[in-house]
Symmetry: C2
Subunit: 226 residues, 2 copies
């Protein structure tokens, strides 16, 4: 149903949609998503690498992250390895790596290494048992903590604690912020679109009475304007 | 501890960090985040609008989303209204709206409307009781379903079902995918950085044996190359 330049899609419209169209729509509707590769090694020693777009920040103290485990889109191998070994890595996807990263979503056999198939290189750092992606410029060693079953969607919310962070120097700022554009970290939309990201605006912590001004523009202004 | 061009930050380094630096680091470390405004109205009729960067897709059938409720960064007013009224809206943040959107994160009094303070306009669509952001080009009417308490982080995972979607025509593709770059939806990094997003690559559903090729480049190739 159209309404001027705006399309209205009701709940019954969504339910009546052809499956792929609905998958596309609902996977796009929340906006841009993070792009990470989860690296694991099974108890038997088989390597696994899987792209995931649902990693979210949970808290800073303790430093925790979570991700959604969807049986249909993330291979079950990853989750099995996470629970059985208690460890995994998260590795940012950057420009130039998107084709290899996307290839890890293909349904390879459990004995097949997505590192080998994609051409991404495994790496081990400081004795952590799960494999990192050598090409990645922001990497996390994560310890598995627990799983929450989201009964309404039959998905799992997996919680892990950050044990180590590896960051390429050029991305790290003195105040702890990361310049993700400096290392070309990409964003994802839907199930198969990868995006270049540029800086647009940076604001101070917002307080009532002080409407935000873009600090990036202030910095770029000539001195006599400041 | 440095390791060539790569900085290693251990768990004890993180725990020993000054609070703001740690907040910045861990809020950046998962990569880019979605940018949405949550619109609610309290039982008493007070309007509330709050930026949130943790909205994630949960499932397509049923069409469900979730977001992380962090007591320190998202005003409690929003969550109270969500639970008490059972409804809320999600509205994409676009280029040109980031200053107003960021201003909603200031700690206004519960009786103050962030719509009024930020200058964003409230809008009501098809009888849904929660307020939408008129300027937004991708809007969701969401019904509250349940809350999962993530005990490790003392945060809440809030689950809702999509009741209606409103999309500007120009973003909607025939296959259900959205061209979020056409409407200038932004991405967030950390707590205060907003980003312009461009198309980089689009791939078909990945299958073993078929290494992904960028469909955007294929489309842009002259006919004699294809």
């Amino acid at each position: 149903m159209k309404k001027g330049k705006q399309i209205h899609i009701s709940r019954s419209d969504i339910e009546g949609m052809e499956k792929i169209k609905r998958l596309n729509l609902i996977n796009h509707i929340t906006g841009y998503k993070s792009a990470n590769l989860i690296g694991t090694k099974s108890k038997q020693g088989y390597l696994n690498l899987s792209i995931v777009s649902s990693v979210v920040h949970l808290s800073s103290a303790p430093a925790l992250i979570g991700f959604i485990q969807r049986p249909t889109t993330v291979p079950r191998h990853t989750y099995t390895n996470v629970v059985e070994t208690g460890v995994f890595t998260l590795n940012h996807v950057h420009e130039g790596l998107t084709d290899k990263a996307h290839y890890t979503s293909a349904k390879f056999d459990i004995k097949d290494s997505e590192f080998e198939h994609s051409g991404l290189k495994e790496e081990y750092l400081d004795g952590f048992p799960a494999p990192f992606v050598m090409e990645s410029k922001v990497k996390l060693a994560v310890r598995y903590l627990s799983t929450y079953e989201i009964s309404e969607s039959q998905t799992l919310f997996v919680v892990g604690s950050i044990e180590s962070i590896y960051i390429q120097n050029s991305a790290m700022k003195a105040n702890g912020q990361l310049d993700l554009t400096a290392v070309g970290t990409v964003a994802i939309s839907g199930l198969n679109n990868y995006h270049r990201v540029d800086q647009l605006a940076s604001y101070a912590y917002a307080r009532p009475g002080a409407f935000p001004t873009n600090l990036l523009q202030t910095i770029n202004m000539p001195d006599f304007v400041k």
